[in-house]
Symmetry: C2
Subunit: 404 residues, 2 copies
């Protein structure tokens, strides 16, 4: 039950990055659930990971291996290898070793990623058995198949692809993400993998990614639950004819904004596929003193089950939005200064219902599939946006039946 | 769909406190929705209120009037008079004036309370019209009718009554609460009204109430949404034969614990009536460094939609509890030190699934209507408990249909 435009784009191949999928039968046996990604020698690779203290075994391993010129990513869906203790660490390492034994890479050059149910042991033998098949079909033009292989409760594959021009030469940016529930990424994301042929140092690539993720994946929430397995990876093969991108230049700014656009598109796709979602809600907080309080207000609204069920019902019960702003914990909030809008319709001003508000105008906005909520705090100059979805019967059904 | 024991107790009358109800027809016309409470001259009265910045007009007025030796409480259900701006303030004051005109009290001796939908103007004329009927039936033995009159989405009336003995003489404590949704009281509660015939100063009464509320109403959550109208009032008529209770004495401690017991019982009743609730979940966090981090971990679990839907499904998907602990934001959490239990069944130890855990044992606990979750942090000595309920289809239905 995805919201609005979810068309899968034509995925441009990225020179120097090959992808191969196979069915390892980890949870299901009807579709591919294992993905191997190969980066050409000399590629750089950046990544950000979940801040959940119970982060999964593959997150621990991938963090450690990131500094060793990674050549391969190995991603499985169907099992998160999280909450699996010491055995989980051994299993994640064994997966990396299996890739090393098939290729010219060292174990330390393989980054493992897992997504799926938490707390079940990962059956590495299934991965080892399916690995040769992934290697056998490693090709550059394989992003669509890859985007499908990493899905769990997702109802559609999420892709982004764009060719940008710098100084008359082109750089390709192609990426994919997955995720529908346990979504409130914190300094990271659900699984996201973006490839580019740009020539760029690891340090600059990492800062580009971190900045982009902060304004995209870290500004979405389905249910407020931060996963144990979130990770976002940006690979740069250096095969583009564009000269190396150097920090502090105009080219670096263009590239960073292009990466951010990719992250935003992939993050929005996750919300459009939010578990049980029927609506896409964009919550913009304006005139905040700083970014932290803007995000705090936006996320309080975005996490309110009362607000989310009202959106599901298309009920302009704006009192719930007002109550959420009021409990958001921002110190010395002067309600007299606050205005709240549904799209262009002012619902709250001077601490109460706007004099111009009519139930009909509110209802017209609430009937839409995509709704903008704007909260004007009247305290400062900062603006931030958070994306979320509504809360439906299907959210309960999907999560009540997840393991059955 | 209330959880477990919800028997309404025999409500002992409290000498010096009279209650009268009537139907004002504010939202519905089939049952009483207006309550007048009269305290005898010389009573003391303590109260705590919501910390929501958008607190309702009656909250503003009641806070102001609390210092003027209150003689009356006026409570309506069906409309919160919140988000109503300046008109709301005038309406709340007009209600107080209407009580003053019928009685010997001043307007400033009347505390108004409203609960119901946010953002609709309160029709004061309906209250003024019904007030004489509430006055006409003011009697001491009327707590049961009163508990029904303050209900909104509640499915049962919530009462508590106990007679305690101090130095051979008795003190009666009788109270009521209401609330089922928009429940995460913050320094206050949904509406709670407790009466006692104890002789006690206003200052000591206020500190007794504040301490009791902190450990009871402030430790429950249905949906994480803090209401604009929360209030808890403790009235003491001084009619008991027990000598005046003095701060710092053993008698004060007995009295405070008795009030806390009343608050706990009334708070638990709210969770048993949580919107759509099918289960009562008691989340205990042990060995925390301080109260704040214990409550933070407990509330992160209690607010997780993924945890709550797993409880609804009786699914021992304990990975969701582990993920919630991990994202709770406690600094330097060492997952190796953490154990998690479902009742007596250890599910997590040393960062992963407990070696003794079996799905059967977890399932047996999850099948219960009342479940204890214990998280042992291994960091300190502090223990805190938070009560919550599960998240069901009915939660979505109730809140999607609230205004229809």
């Amino acid at each position: 039950m995805a919201v609005g435009n979810i068309e899968f784009p034509k995925m441009q191949a990225v020179a120097g990055i090959k992808l191969g999928t196979a069915c390892a039968g980890i949870k299901q046996t009807e579709r591919d659930d294992l993905l191997l990604v190969e980066m050409t020698a000399g590629s750089t690779c950046a990544a950000v990971f979940t801040q959940n203290a119970f982060c999964a075994a593959p997150v621990h391993v991938a963090k450690k291996h990131l500094s060793t010129s990674p050549r391969y990513l190995l991603i499985n869906s169907g099992n998160a290898n999280a909450g699996t203790g010491e055995q989980g660490m051994q299993d994640a390492m064994a997966s990396c070793t299996a890739v090393a034994e098939l290729t010219s890479a060292n174990t330390e050059q393989v980054l493992p990623f897992s997504t799926g149910v938490i707390g079940e042991p990962l059956d590495v033998s299934k991965i080892v058995k399916a690995l040769p098949a992934t290697q056998a079909n490693l090709i550059e033009d394989n992003w669509a198949e890859a985007a499908h292989a990493i899905m769990t409760t997702d109802t559609f594959a999420k892709g982004y692809s764009k060719v940008i021009t710098i100084n008359g030469e082109t750089i390709t940016i192609t990426g994919m993400s997955k995720g529908a529930g346990m979504i409130q990424p914190n300094m990271a994301t659900m699984l996201g993998f973006i490839g580019t042929d740009a020539k760029i140092s690891q340090a600059l690539l990492q800062s580009c990614l971190a900045e982009s993720v902060e304004q995209s994946f870290n500004r979405i929430t389905v249910d407020g639950d931060t996963s144990t397995n979130d990770a976002c990876v940006l690979m740069a093969s250096g095969q583009s004819t564009v000269a190396e991108i150097i920090a502090g230049t105009k080219e670096a700014e263009i590239f960073q904004l292009a990466i951010q656009e990719a992250c935003l598109a992939l993050a929005e796709a996750i919300i459009r596929d939010g578990e049980g979602a029927t609506k896409l809600i964009k919550i913009k907080v304006q005139q905040a003193v700083n970014e932290a309080e803007a995000v705090q207000v936006a996320k309080t609204i975005a996490h309110s089950p009362l607000v989310k069920t009202a959106f599901f019902a298309s009920d302009p019960n704006w009192g719930r939005i007002l109550a959420a702003v009021g409990r958001s914990g921002v110190a010395q909030l002067d309600v007299e200064q606050i205005s709240i809008y549904l799209d262009e319709v002012c619902i709250v001003e001077k601490g109460g219902r706007a004099s111009s508000y009519t139930e009909e105008a509110g209802q017209a906005v609430m009937n839409q599939q995509e709704i903008n909520v704007t909260v004007v705090l009247g305290r400062g100059q900062v603006e931030q946006q958070v994306l979320t979805c509504d809360f439906s019967y299907d959210y309960v059904r999907i999560n009540a039946e997840y393991r059955t």
